[in-house]
Symmetry: C2
Subunit: 308 residues, 2 copies
């Protein structure tokens, strides 16, 4: 039986963990804030995709160090924030054979983990899922649910195939890519523009952000900067990507980004993972990104104000 | 006796009108929202500079057209907003000899007035004053109070000298410049950066905006773009201007811009006059202004959201 440890079992971790358990894996979780409730009752999950159900993890740990047997897969679903040493967080449970699965937002978020665990395979995953937490132990899955997974920094991976097969069998359609870094850059084209823009002006939704010809031209220019960085980093993206993203986003209902929701709720924002790392990649590859630089400077001001 | 008509007698108009009256001018006002109170009681002004006093205008008009004798000076102190045709507003009271005095924010705000009244002298004024309105008819002058005035588009002006002498005699120190457009560009270096930045993130004050090395570098880069536009428009500014402004602004107490106050109070913002005209001047003179363009696009999104 495949042993999986979910570290940071918030909304995505609990939902994906439940799907993996349903497919037959032995899924344990580390959760701090909900520990008491989850230890006693498991997770109460409402989901249009998996049905409403209760997910009782194999083990519920308060700390990573409480997991004494290294799992086959350690799935990390914490936010990527300054001051959180994710490598140190997971180290107590990582054995020589443990495959580390990062399901997190941002650019270059794999590098610190890969260099901290040079002997371990690192899988990088991009989740598309609308899921949130309610009261302790309650998970509300609203819409969609899929994963794009691949070995970091690239290449084929039987371990990724097995993980994706389990998750798919459990109800979360998952596919494997041999170039997950390109996939991450592709996602950044949307994330690193809409997220920071959405926290300007006390939260802007996608309908406002794309409300006029001028605003669309602006967003498109910002996206072009990210495409230029991705290309310089060796990951050229499809020339029609931006147009497609603009069309899809305009067809969606007015949408608040994850950063906008974090901002509204006074939670830490993943500015560095999503935008800061993009800007730093631009500097490394000598690509001019004046719009991203401006968004980054403004987002940091907003963060500084929010944290006062 | 010099006859002066103040059009848009809000805080600045009432305060400056009171100073002009104190110096012996015959000052009438057009005020819409406070008409009843001002007609009956005049303005109740608290001021550390002029003392607390009551200012009873010579005439109080509800409409510009009610002023049947053209004044020597028509002082316009309304906001410069899209959809407000200032030339049409003042036309009924402008006689062949009337000198038009614009005490308003922004870049290129004189051009529409100058072209609408080619036979009239236009003076352009930059006020430095902290003054606000309270209840109807109540004006609270908080701090400083001075005017920098000049003939538009440039040159010496006896009419400006007389107006400045009156205002100075009334308690508002005023000086005359023969290059008011350069002075306006100089002011724009501060205004067109701090104002739009201040409405990001649900209002940022100057302390947050200048809170880190990175944020100061960003503001400085934005200011450099404005200096480049000013130079291309024939108004090179002093090379140390930006450093001086940064020092002065950091020494001030945390300060909210006029645009931030407008935003907080749900009032229309002078985005076009302050920033849009700057960006359009950049396009005319073929100067790249990526940061200003970004600020402009974001400010317009914020405005669109605020006006929904």
């Amino acid at each position: 039986m495949t042993a999986i440890l979910v570290v940071g079992a918030g909304a995505v971790g609990a939902l994906f963990g439940s799907a993996l358990a349903r497919a037959g894996a032995e899924v344990s979780v580390v959760c701090r804030s909900d520990y008491g409730v989850v230890k006693r009752d498991g997770y109460d999950i409402t989901s249009p995709l998996l049905g409403n159900h209760r997910f009782r993890p194999h083990q519920v740990y308060r700390e990573v160090a409480d997991c004494e047997t290294p799992p086959d897969y350690l799935m990390l679903t914490v936010k990527v924030l300054d001051g959180v040493d994710r490598a140190a967080l997971i180290r107590p449970a990582v054995g020589p054979q443990t495959v580390i699965v990062l399901i997190e937002n941002g650019i270059d978020i794999e590098a610190p983990i890969a260099s901290a665990f040079p002997g371990n395979e690192v899988l990088s995953g991009l989740a598309i899922v609308g899921v949130g937490r309610g009261e302790p132990g309650k998970i509300h899955h609203q819409s969609v649910g899929s994963l794009n997974l691949g070995r970091y920094p690239g290449g084929a991976s039987p371990a990724a195939e097995r993980f994706a097969a389990l998750l798919t069998a459990g109800g979360i359609a998952s596919k494997v890519t041999d170039d997950v870094v390109s996939a991450r850059w592709q996602k950044a084209v949307w994330n690193a523009t809409f997220n920071p823009i959405s926290i300007m002006g006390g939260v802007l939704d996608t309908a406002v952000i794309l409300g006029t010809d001028e605003s669309r031209a602006f967003v498109s220019s910002a996206m072009q900067e990210i495409c230029a960085v991705a290309a310089a980093a060796g990951h050229p993206l499809h020339p029609k990507l931006i147009d497609q993203m603009m069309v899809v986003t305009r067809e969606m209902a007015a949408y608040k980004t994850s950063m906008a929701l974090d901002y509204e709720n006074g939670r830490p924002m993943e500015i560095e993972a999503i935008l800061g790392n993009t800007v730093r990649a631009a500097r490394r590859h000598d690509v001019a990104t004046p719009i991203l630089d401006a968004l980054y400077a403004l987002a940091k001001m907003i963060e500084a104000k929010a944290s006062r």
